[in-house]
Symmetry: C2
Subunit: 240 residues, 2 copies
Amino acid sequence: MPNPFVQKLGRYASLSDEDTRLLESACRDTRRTAARRDLIREGDPPGPVFVMLEGWACRYKLMREGGRQVLALLMPGDFCDMHVAVLDEMDHSIGTLTPALYTEIPRERMETLIASSPALTRAFWIAQLVDEGVLRAWIVSMGRRDSTERLAHLMCELYIRARNVGLCIDGHCEMPLTQIVIADALGLTPVHVNRVLRKLKVAGAMELGRGTLHIRDVESLARIAGFDDNYLHRRLKLAA
Amino acid sequence: MPNPFVQKLGRYASLSDEDTRLLESACRDTRRTAARRDLIREGDPPGPVFVMLEGWACRYKLMREGGRQVLALLMPGDFCDMHVAVLDEMDHSIGTLTPALYTEIPRERMETLIASSPALTRAFWIAQLVDEGVLRAWIVSMGRRDSTERLAHLMCELYIRARNVGLCIDGHCEMPLTQIVIADALGLTPVHVNRVLRKLKVAGAMELGRGTLHIRDVESLARIAGFDDNYLHRRLKLAA
DNA sequence: CGCGTTTTTGAAGCCCCTCAAGTGTAGTGG
DNA sequence: CCACTACACTTGAGGGGCTTCAAAAACGCG
């Protein structure tokens, strides 16, 4: 079974066999957790780098009044908090959405990896930059897109990212998100997310149910989303 | 006149005289521009690192239908796009809001700086992380705060940042933002921003006019904003 | 002074929320 | 195999926050 972490980084820089071996060896010590478990909480001192190998997680922040905002969705291959160690404490939490398999890479190990290979360094940097691009795209969505465009945009993003790590088989892919999580991510209510999903389904653009996303019409979905070809290294059209 | 770039980085790591000298020398070659000029545009190949020395600028992205979303506000001392060079092209633009004085540090020069001093490296990293924290906070604002909380939160953020580079004198500071720019940043309309500003003024929390922000009641403003003490390294209470 | 931009104010409407109730759908234990 | 439970999903009705449209007043810069 291919390591999605290696797969993802391999898209950003051409890795030597030695690089691949280093990465895989860094992922050897894995852990399993149930769904809805926090890997790290707001206020905790920053820990190691987390690498998702199976299952999904999210960064989130709880509001005082009880709501929550999801700041990023993490799928297999994603890692996070590479250099957060210089800060005193976490300003948000990370929790699993599904049962998950992940690795914790200690900070020193991470530094060794980076020091040992320019290609790995480059791959980590690019991954970091892409993540920042995703953050900015979320802000654009929240600020200037209505609920339908917003949901369509998120699904385009997740579809591409999932495909990049081999989680999709033509038109459909595993996407274990509840409408509640989607609402938390988009700044909407679950009730409204439900209605928008119905609308997109009736429009023949996409369908989401039972943990699976079915793209019915990529072109249409991308048009609704106002999806930017430049985003995520223009990968939407490939192998649709 | 103190260099705000040096001032800001000095808050993140203790810089030696040599570090300071290196930074100042990297800022020697300055440029002036008028307001509303783009430093770099979406689609351009990534350029050098920009360092703001005087005046304000913003990252922004234009929507197809004509609207725009401001992604970050840049004030003296801020720099950006440190390691964006690995990407093919910019996914957003950066433009001045006021007449500005800035430096372009070539990428090689930047690498030399980082290689020459661990303290500088650390300072750059922390600055980068704080910026990411700001991005995440914006998402939280857009997703889970109403217009009043959102505006109050932005003003708290900008007030602290401005104070950190010496732009504030007890209760008030220079803040050359039009209501239009604020609306573009918060995902609101200028009309509504105007009404919210009035509300905050009537409430005795703050006042914004003629390019100046007057904080009338920090406690009250922070309470309205739901401002997180953890945010920006808990600096709100200092020297209020 | 004159002109463009920003700010201000009002009225009407829509998008999304809130509240509420009912219908699946897994997972658990008897 | 069927209660029982806990969520997630679905659907409806009503309300509020913010937008849209419009126009006037104030500001700032040549």
